[in-house]
Amino acid sequence: MPLLSLFERLVIPLAAWLAVAAYTGSQLDPAGRAEGSLLGVLIASIVAAIAAIGSRTPGSRTSPELAATALLATAVVWIAYQGPSRGAVVSLILGLGLGVSTVRALFDNRGRWRVEDRLDPGISVPLAFGYQCLMRCDLLLPPLLEARTLVSLLVLPMLAGGSISVLASRFGTRRAVLAGGLVVVLAPGWTLTSTFALTALAAGTLVTDGAKPSALRWIAIAGLVLLPLWNLPKGLLLLLAALAVTGQAFAPMPLLTVAAALVAIMSPQLQSPMVALRTWAGAVLLVPAAIMAPAAGRWQMRLGAILALAAALVSSYSEAMAAGVALAALGTPIRGAVATLQRAWCATLVIGTALISAYPWVRQEPRQDLLELLGWHTEAIALLVVVTAVVGLGLLLELGRRFEPRWTPQPGVVAGLLLAIALLLSQGNLRFTLRQGIAPTEVLVNSYGPIALDATTDTWQVTVSESSGSEPPIVALAVDSHLTRSGQLIPGSAVATVELLGDGDQVLAGWPLRTGQETGEWSSARDDVVAPPHWMTRVASEGTFFARSYRAHFETTRPMPVSRLRIRRAEDLPPETALSIVRLEIRR
């Protein structure tokens, strides 16, 4: 019985939480206790999701990923020292467990989709919950029993998962899962806007589904009607997307007309075209198959792309395009090279985004960070070039089929062209990424012995070569740091200087650490502090927000006979402002 099986399986997340809580309770360091509490809740939540998924997975007497994930995650909390590294390891284990659970639930032993036209809500809802916990781990910080937190943690995943199941019954499991995966990447996680996008599409599906109870259909209609009341421009766009999936009743052209009229009405409040284009290009990058779709589903995909552009014009937030992206995804081909590539790309995005948005990275723009990791910078020019190339490729394929209907592009050729475009555009950056990825030669400062520069100690230096020039030259260095009580500083102010010294005090090279660029305020996760993108987080001692550190990477331009490295605090800093160096690496 699934319910009994679920009950028995929930013993494991409870046991894991108890074990972590027991360890956390013995910690003297408040930061360690805070981090332990977060990890305990995170482990219990995701393991519970895995347990729920496993209880509904056909043919699954035991879920090895359930036991393995719980055991390993708990063991890591007990074994590893507190800090971002422990958090990273736990997040990786949980992400892997959730991923394995997802694959086992969706695919049978032969690697085929278990059910093509149905997705059990008993699987989709816990799946949505699990990814929400992983990608929005800030929700798991106290206070947990706040209404807003409970809605974000429980209600939104329920809505999202349920909507994916509804969409699966109409568009097939593959497309529905694809749509859900791409939406969760956009925000990231399930936000109000992204969830409503899926819900609107599901409601649109229900409205014209004669097999569903009429009460359900009326609820769907009522929900759709109320959408514009929530947020006028976004709600209208969601309504349009919902109407688009109702079937033949509403043709694409009237919908496009309405969308254009909406944009025209909202013109005084629109985003700048370049900003909108950049935002939109990022969304299109999620569904490149939209450009190369065969005849079936083409209107949905193009309408989705256009709705996404309209959303980008009315809002600068990526999640506003969720409806358009989901609509485009619902029209992707099921089979063929393009379909396979699309699914592989989606899986890469979901896994990568989930990882980078999880603790301890908690990146604010994980999708962009993932693309940068792969060597693509999300600047307008680069993205537009990518999108143009992909669009151009799709148009070429389309033209080819028009002139020669019997011509079918070889999957390998398509894949090769796409990869060539990707490599061409990422070549230089990928090398940079790889170079940054190589382990440092030396770690001069680590997080267990940070350096603090304040009004009383304004200089720190270390010998890096016993005699200058006796060792291989330093080619790069990385500084992880954060500021304390720096809220009053003007962004861009130099707070310290990193210097390479030769014999005596001869400065051979120097780089500034500037607030808002190379470093920032540690408590910038609080709502009242503005800061640049951070490098790594850790749970603050208070336990209610994340403390952040920032990484600055410097490279030397020529070999130099370096004997010492010095970091000097700026003289004009306010006395209460302190700079902490938590990690300093050099590479020879």
Binding site: A70, G111, A439
Partner: protein
């Protein structure tokens, strides 16, 4: 093996080498994963080759994809770990690779089940040799990068070096610089090393193992020697199936599980990348026993068959004189089990006697001692007490540092298994008792019953194949919920510990002080005396007897209760087993907060000591004869977390001032002063040489008693030396 398979294997091997070259290039020169990345594609190709060339049931395609994708992702994660800010996580990444390897091995083992048929084959397929060999080779790069040869290993290597380059066993010219070929730490002749009449320096260890290692050592240095050890270990794993065929041929599935346990978990896994005589000794014993059991069914054995028995038997004492204790029992067993071939075996016995006499004569002539480094008095068992036998005998299985069970808990299944063997009066039980008995009787009461500075279960390792076969009856009952739940919990714990031991190989070497590295880390991290809940026969404590009693009584009784229930449907035995395992952790914490502290050993890791030094020094000989202490200099302090068991406490402090000087102590609970003590006056009439006495570990340190005094709850016991320095052994607390 068909041609297409061969071609494919060859192509994959070439592809693997190219991939290895590319992967290695993605990492820096100093990267600890560089050598692992070199061997990783070769391991993948080798495992695929085993799969291709064996009658195997393939894993579901979905699982193959998952494993492949996960491995690919893990490789990328390792390459990009700096870019992701994954610092100090090398151990985790190594653990991930290891778990992926174990997952692949488990899949292959399940797939290899059809190759064993309905009854175990006389000759198990070679896949059961190559599979563990590949695994042992896979873990060697990481383990050798994280530990140098230690214990007796450097000396075996030095002898191998001498044989390989000097063609002799005289080490007088090798101690100067030749150790640099395989380690960075200088080694000196060991105490008791025989010295020749012309000043030659010989090793106290036998030359047979170095002789076997010498050719490979000459070709590939330390790596070559370790490859040979991996091959010997893999052969030993293969022999387990062979012995299972001899004793329990009708249980192929259970035999496969037993093979998996012995081949891929501690202790054998830990010895696969180290150089110890115990592995070849176990192999020789297994070969001899296998031949002996074969001869049992033959009326007229051929000379070659007798030679196959004689060879391994006679090589045992040459390998190490200690293993001569196995030879006589083997012969007795052969005589007892034979069908009247006493004359033939008599010839064998005679050959053994001649060999023994020759060895003794050689030793007497060359080293002046017929027993080389041993003495005849060591054979006198009457000099030992029952507790001496119990300490060593039980310690081999229960000691947290050196015992089999705490280091690989899956072996707890031996307890119910022995019960089954006793009930069935299995021949395996009798054979094992006959062979192991004399050896264990002589080893157990020795002070260093644990094998000195070595991984756990060193001396009894020679019997590991027999212990593995002994598991088969209980593994045959894995359908019972109780058995499965217990097995799953023990297997999960063993998996976690195995990963720890392989990823941190230094933690498998412990000092004989009643603690382990793992328990020290836990105590230090939690600020609690965790070690008191784990058994030790080096430093006996109540937990030792609780563990023994509980395991001997509760496990078999618990399994008996559900004897009639059969596992059906969705009963999640795995779930309950793992949940119980995870719940042990908070139970441990609860126990620590509830059970009052009775003894504080000041050298333990959970005691906070900013200054001072441990007594005795870590590398002292015969460490179990010392009770450890902490020497606290003048003007220093230490603090020991204490769980109170009442409002008042009597403290009996065992301590000895240094150098007959006055010592003034401040004793308190946190910041609250409990007493000030003039220790010199208190211990003036106590014996001054009380720090070391031979015999048991409970020595008589001078003691001083304080109290009963009020104890504020939640405070640590703090001791400050206001004047003078002293050695603090322990404090015994009696609560009221």
């Amino acid at each position: 093996m068909t041609s297409p398979h061969r071609v494919r294997t060859l192509v994959e091997a070439v592809a693997a080498m190219l991939t290895a070259w590319v992967l290695r290039g993605c990492l820096g020169v100093e990267d600890p994963f560089r050598d692992t990345f070199w061997i990783l594609p070769l391991v993948v190709a080798a495992l695929r080759a085993i799969e291709r060339h064996t009658e195997i049931r393939r894993a579901p395609q979905r699982n193959q994809w998952l494993a492949t994708l996960t491995l690919g992702g893990w490789i990328l994660l390792t390459i990009f770990r700096q870019r992701l800010g994954l610092v100090a996580t090398d151990w985790f990444l190594a653990a991930g690779f290891l778990l992926l390897l174990f997952q692949r091995v488990a899949t292959l083992l399940i797939g290899l089940r059809p190759s064993l048929g309905r009854e175990l084959p006389r000759r198990p397929p070679l896949a059961f040799f190559f599979l563990p060999l590949v695994v042992y080779l896979a873990i060697q790069p990481w383990s050798s990068a994280h530990r140098q040869p230690d214990g007796d290993e450097p000396y075996y290597l030095l002898v191998a070096h001498s044989l390989a380059y000097d063609l002799d066993v005289d080490l007088s010219n090798n101690y100067d610089a030749d150790w640099q070929h395989f380690m960075t730490r200088r080694i000196e002749p060991q105490p008791g090393d025989p010295v020749g009449t012309d000043g030659e320096i010989y090793s106290r260890h036998g030359f047979l193992l170095p002789l076997v290692l010498a050719p490979a050592y000459r070709l590939a240095g330390l790596k070559g020697a370790m490859w040979i050890m991996a091959a010997l270990t893999a052969a030993l794993a293969w022999m387990v199936l062979r012995l299972a065929y001899r004793y329990m041929p009708g249980s192929p599935s259970a035999a496969l599980l037993a093979y998996g346990i012995v081949g891929f978990s501690p202790p054998l896994l830990l010895y696969s990348y180290q150089i110890w005589v115990e592995v070849p000794a176990a192999l020789l014993l297994s070969l001899a026993l296998d031949r002996l059991l074969d001869l049992r069914q033959i009326d007229q054995p051929r000379p070659s068959q007798l030679a196959a028995l004689a060879g391994p038997t006679l090589l045992l004492p040459i390998l190490k004189m200690r293993f001569g204790l196995l030879v006589a029992p083997l012969l007795l067993l052969a005589v007892w089990r034979s069908r009247g071939r006493n004359l033939t075996l008599g010839w064998l016995g005679g050959a053994l006697a001649v060999l023994a006499a020759s060895l003794m004569a050689f030793n007497a002539l060359r080293f002046g001692n017929p027993l080389r480094i041993y003495s005849w008095s060591e054979l006198d068992l009457l000099q030992y007490s029952v507790m001496d036998f119990a300490r060593g005998g039980l310690g081999m299985f229960y000691d947290c540092a050196f015992g089999l069970f705490p280091n690989a808990p899956i072996w707890f299944l031996l307890l119910p298994a022995c019960g089954l063997l006793i009930r069935r009066r299995a021949p395996l039980l009798i054979d094992s008792l006959m062979i192991c008995g004399p050896y264990v009787l002589l080893i157990a009461p020795r002070i260093e019953w644990f094998g000195g500075w070595a991984p756990p279960f060193r001396y009894p390792l020679v019997f590991l194949p027999l212990l593995a076969v002994a598991l088969i009856p209980i593994l045959d009952q894995r359908w019972r919920p109780g058995v499965r739940t217990l097995a799953m919990a023990l297997a999960a714990l063993t998996l976690v510990l195995t990963v720890v031991w392989v990823v941190i190989p230094g933690w498998t070497y412990n000092f004989a002080d009643g603690r382990t590295h793992l328990l020290d880390q836990a105590g230090n991290r939690l600020g609690a005396d965790i070690a008191r809940f784990f058994p030790s026969t080096v430093r006996p404590r109540p937990a030792t007897w609780w563990w023994i009693a509980t395991s001997v009584l509760a496990i078999p009784v618990g399994m008996r209760l559900d004897a009639r229930r059969r596992l059906t449907g969705n009963q999640p035995a795995t779930t309950w087993g793992v949940a119980a395992l995870i719940l042990l952790l908070p139970t441990l914490m609860f126990a620590n907060r509830t059970l009052p502290t009775r003894v504080v050993h000041f050298e333990d890791a959970f005691v906070f000591r900013p200054r001072g030094i441990v007594y005795p020094p870590p590398w002292v000989l015969q460490r179990p004869t010392f009770t450890g202490a902490w020497t606290l200099p003048a003007g220093r302090w230490l603090a020991a977390p204490v769980t109170a068991g009442g409002e008042r406490v009597t403290i009996r402090l065992f301590a000895l001032p240094e150098a007959q000087q006055p010592v003034h102590l401040w004793i308190g609970a946190g910041e609250h002063q409990l007493a000030k003590l003039d220790l010199q006056t208190a211990v003036a009439e106590q014996p001054s040489n009380a720090k070391q006495q031979s015999g048991t570990a409970q020595q008589e340190w001078p003691s001083t008693t304080l109290g009963p005094i009020e104890w504020p709850s939640g405070e640590p016991l703090v001791i400050r030396t206001l004047e003078g320095s002293l050695s603090l052994d322990r404090a015994e607390l009696t609560w009221q």
